[in-house]
């Protein structure tokens, strides 16, 4: 039962005023600009765009500033803003094969066309705090080298040529959209991929890790990981032809997983797929592992009861805005609910007390 009460307005207003002051912090310290956040905290910006499910670095930077660096709060702000935008259609499916790669590595082939390009990675750093960053310092210019022109082929293409890996056959069915229709089970892979790409990074990482530790193991190798920019094209109804409207930076991970085969098909590698807005490598790899685990039924594997195989469990708990909304609502006033619980427990205690007295008397 809900009972409306009044009286919190002034406290709320004052709390928000104090929040604004605390957000600003010590005014002797220079204020952060949106551009500074966008340029210098770009991986936080990328996470907010990916899980906010809206590609706009400036908005994500603003959300991070407003949320005082609480990324889930920032994602919440982006999701809320997103709902206010009219939607001008959907893009043509992007082609990650023409990605201008900043990074492109394969853990399965050492020498591959296009090579192993490390890009601006944390890998191979020693994870020692760099106190030079605490002082204002000039950054040395990154070295350059002549680049090959042309696109970088996908690793799965070479395996495909030998028939060693399952194909991802071309299809043009319009995909379901969980921002328009409620998420329902059983889910299609297209719906799962949409849910996973905007899923909480920590939850997705934990599930992916669980598959590596044996809860629905699928023996994943990173066949390829690539990060770079891809053009986005939409069909312009007034003109009758598609036009590029911009570019997005994406991280794509294709895993090569252990075999499946049948009486009619010889054994071949299977695949998991991760694709996420921004430079979001941990999330993309996690997504690919979870995508692969969720494909157990389609690939004729046993359901071993692992959490990562349970589409309903994964998809209904992966969204951090849904989760935090439900979790955090329990801190809001529940005075009346709690009053009834109090009365119930008092009544039970009275009854138990009366029974004890009676037993003692007997």
């Amino acid at each position: 039962m809900y009972v409306a009460v009044k009286g919190g307005e002034r406290a709320i207003e004052n709390a928000h005023a104090w929040l604004a002051e605390e957000r600003r912090g010590n005014t002797d310290i220079a204020e952060l600009s949106i551009a500074q956040i966008r340029e210098q905290l770009s991986l936080a910006v990328n996470r907010v765009m990916a899980e906010g499910s809206l590609y706009d670095p400036d908005l994500a930077a603003l959300a991070i500033k407003q949320a005082r660096g609480d990324l889930i709060e920032a994602i919440f702000l982006i999701r809320a803003y997103r709902t206010t935008l009219p939607r001008f259609g959907a893009s043509e499916p992007i082609d990650t094969g023409i990605m201008a790669c900043d990074r492109r590595i394969s853990a399965t082939f050492k020498d591959l066309p296009g090579g192993q390009v490390l890009g601006p990675t944390f890998d191979y750093t020693h994870r020692l705090l760099d106190f030079k960053l605490a002082a204002d310092g000039e950054v040395p210019k990154a070295p350059s080298r002549d680049a090959e022109t042309g696109t970088v082929p996908h690793v799965t293409e070479f395996l495909n040529r030998e028939g060693l890996i399952e194909e991802a056959p071309y299809d043009d069915a319009p995909p379901p959209d969980l921002t328009r229709e409620p998420l329902e089970m059983p889910s299609t892979r297209a719906l799962r991929l949409q849910a996973l790409t905007r899923a909480d990074e920590g939850f997705t990482l934990g599930l992916a890790y669980s598959t590596q530790r044996g809860y629905g193991r699928n023996h994943a190798f990173v066949g390829e990981l690539r990060i770079g920019s891809v053009p986005v094209e939409i069909d312009i109804p007034e003109l009758g032809f598609p036009v590029e409207i911009g570019e997005v930076i994406l991280t794509e991970c294709e895993t090569v997983n252990q075999f499946t085969g049948s009486k009619t098909e010889p054994p071949q590698f299977t695949r998991g797929y991760g694709l996420v807005f921004g430079q979001t490598e941990r999330k993309a790899i996690s997504m690919a592992l979870v995508d692969r685990a969720l494909r157990w039924e389609e690939l004729g594997e046993d359901n071993v009861g692992a959490p990562a195989q349970d589409a309903e469990f994964v998809l209904y708990h992966a969204d951090n805005i849904q989760a935090t909304g439900f979790l955090e609502h329990i801190k809001l006033p529940h005075y009346v609910d709690f009053q009834s619980e109090l009365e119930l427990v008092r009544k039970l205690r009275r009854e138990a007390g009366a029974q004890q007295l009676q037993e003692a008397a007997e």
Binding site: D56, F88, A173, P175, T197, E244, I245
Partner: protein
């Protein structure tokens, strides 16, 4: 009325170029060359989103990856040419100037604007891309064999 395919290609190319230009760059190039002609709005700039689609396994069935912000507008010059723009982000000023250049590229100004706006824009963007590709190339691993075990 829909344009024919043969006419589409150059227009598609310049619209894509204008859409991907850095913020304020088209305006700077255009205003340095001409004073802007009068126009009327067919559709004033409006901010919205588009759902970006991708393919599972890069080549398979499409899925919805997430949205991106876009701004669109349409205008008519006094001489009747219609300019459209659909550009990434939320800059109404950039959408306006992109639609204006799209319209002007259909007039006798086309040659002049190609030289003064499109070509420098394309060159500038190609330089930025090349610089990035060159940095990536410098991080390419050159493997060499240290020792090879024979057992």
């Amino acid at each position: 009325m829909k344009d024919t395919v043969s006419e589409n290609n150059p227009r598609k190319a310049w619209m894509g170029l204008l859409a991907k230009a850095p913020e304020g760059r088209v305006a700077a190039l255009l205003d340095a060359e001409i004073s802007r002609p009068a126009f009327t709005w067919l559709r004033a700039p409006e901010i919205g989103s588009t759902m970006v689609r991708a393919r599972s396994g890069a080549t398979g069935a499409p899925f919805n990856l997430g949205e991106m912000t876009i701004t669109r507008c349409a205008l008519t010059l006094e001489t009747g040419e219609v300019g459209h723009s659909y550009i990434q982000g939320r800059s109404k000023a950039d959408a306006e100037v992109a639609a204006l250049v799209d319209a002007l590229m259909q007039t006798a100004m086309a040659v002049r604007l190609r030289e003064a706006v499109l070509e420098p824009l394309e060159a500038g963007m190609a330089n930025v891309k090349a610089a990035r590709a060159a940095k990536a190339a410098a991080t390419k691993v050159d493997f060499f064999t240290m020792t090879r075990g024979e057992d």
